[in-house]
């Protein structure tokens, strides 16, 4: 079972690596903003699997922190690449 968990964690990391290769090189900033989200979710998944396999303690707290900080980093990226405008300027979009 331990080996299975570790193998799954490895698979997820490989997936994250492939996704990162696509996003970090991708045209435009939107792709790069998504990289933080990808590593956040994939990192948490691998983290939980590795912790379940190797028996590290207190890892749920790290995962909670990772979730919050990945969200924090994503918000900062979006804010920097496309600064928020007042809602009035959205009126033309109709939604």
């Amino acid at each position: 079972m331990t080996d299975f968990l570790l193998a799954m964690a490895g698979l997820i990391l490989f997936t994250v690596a492939v996704g990162l290769a696509r996003l970090l090189g991708g045209p435009g900033d939107a792709d790069r903003m998504m990289a933080a989200q990808l590593i956040g979710t994939g990192g948490i998944a691998s983290l939980l699997l590795i912790a379940a396999a190797t028996g590290a303690r207190g890892v749920e707290d790290v995962a909670l922190g990772l979730a919050l900080l990945a969200a924090f980093a994503s918000v900062a990226f979006v804010n920097s690449a496309a600064p928020a405008e007042a809602p009035d300027s959205d009126a033309a979009d109709g939604r």
Binding site: D3, G10, A76, F77
Partner: protein, 315 residues
């Protein structure tokens, strides 16, 4: 090769690849994204090294807060850029820097790999004396009990850093507020996220601080998460950075190192030597000190990221 070894090697290669991309990334924004990804991956490495406290700190400060700091700096550089400023390092200096960095990295790797299995370490002794401190987490014991003076000086360095950042303001802005003003009607999606995330994050941050006495966690990590939540609210323009001349702000900034110092001096009076804790009473004192440390960190980090004041103080 076992699955675990393959996983470790894969993780290490991924970290290398992301680091290499960050160095060669086109532009500050991309490089910062790469840096944040690198930091989050590094916290996975720390988990594999069974250093859970360090993993939390890496994710919180090394990756999260520093990443946002770099993003803010990159944005400000974009604003301030004038034509003809584009003069990046090239040729021989770059090669020299790369060579020196590689040399240092190889030296560190050699030291780590050639380390004898039973290297010199005070870990067994520190674990033996752990019950006297009343703590269950040896990392917290090292930070606040065994080398408390060092940790206090680190908090002083934080305060000095904030003062340094504030001193970058133009004279007329001194005492004013950094960052952007809050909006009467902030963007709804961002406001929603901030309003839901911030209270949860505050809860998680306080939990991680409090649980750090016995489980992985601690004041630094909890304070960083609290700081991140305040920064989310500021980024959503729900609230604005306070004026740098505000008394409560300055008090909160120095409260951590101040309480720490007072506890150290009180140790000299009540427990026999500077920074000694009274036996049997160590844990409450430690938690008391840590509470004010969390406050200082949670206030100092957003102030560092917000930058120097950019709006004039009211007369």
């Amino acid at each position: 090769m076992s699955v675990l070894q393959a996983l470790d090697i894969g993780l290490a290669l991924l970290v290398f690849a992301v680091a290499a991309w960050t160095i060669f990334a086109p532009g500050a924004f991309s490089a910062t994204v790469g840096y944040v990804v690198y930091g989050l991956l590094l916290s996975l490495v720390w988990i594999r090294l069974f250093a859970v406290d360090v993993a939390l700190t890496e994710a919180a400060i090394g990756s999260g807060v520093t990443g946002v700091l770099l993003i803010g700096a990159a944005a400000r550089l974009r604003e301030a850029k004038t034509a003809g400023d584009e003069k990046s390092l090239s040729g021989l200096p770059r090669l020299l820097i790369a060579g020196l960095c590689t040399l240092v990295a190889l030296a560190l790797a050699a030291v780590a790999l050639l380390f004898p299995d039973q290297g010199p370490s005070l870990a067994p002794q520190s674990m033996r004396r752990l019950p006297e401190t009343g703590l269950g987490n040896p990392v917290t014991a090292v930070l606040i009990a065994y080398r408390a003076f060092d940790t206090m000086l680190e908090k002083v360095v934080l305060v000095l850093a904030v003062v340094g950042v504030w001193s970058l303001a133009a004279d007329r802005y001194w005492g004013g507020a950094p960052g952007e003003a809050r909006l009467a009607r902030p963007e709804p999606t961002l406001a929603f996220l901030a309003q839901v995330l911030a209270p949860l994050g505050v809860l998680v941050g306080i939990h991680i601080f409090w649980v750090g006495a016995d489980e992985p966690g601690g004041a630094f990590q909890g304070g960083a998460i609290l700081a991140a939540m305040w920064m989310i609210a500021m980024m959503a323009r729900l609230t604005e950075a306070p004026r740098t001349s505000a008394f409560w702000l300055r008090l909160a900034l120095v409260a951590g190192p101040l309480v720490f110092l007072i506890a150290g001096v009180a140790g000299a009076i009540f427990a026999g030597s500077f920074f000694a804790y009274p036996p049997g009473f160590a844990k409450p004192v430690i938690l008391f000190i840590e509470t004010f440390m969390v406050l200082s960190i949670a206030v100092a980090l957003p102030m560092l990221v917000a930058g120097p004041p950019r709006r004039e103080p009211p007369r």
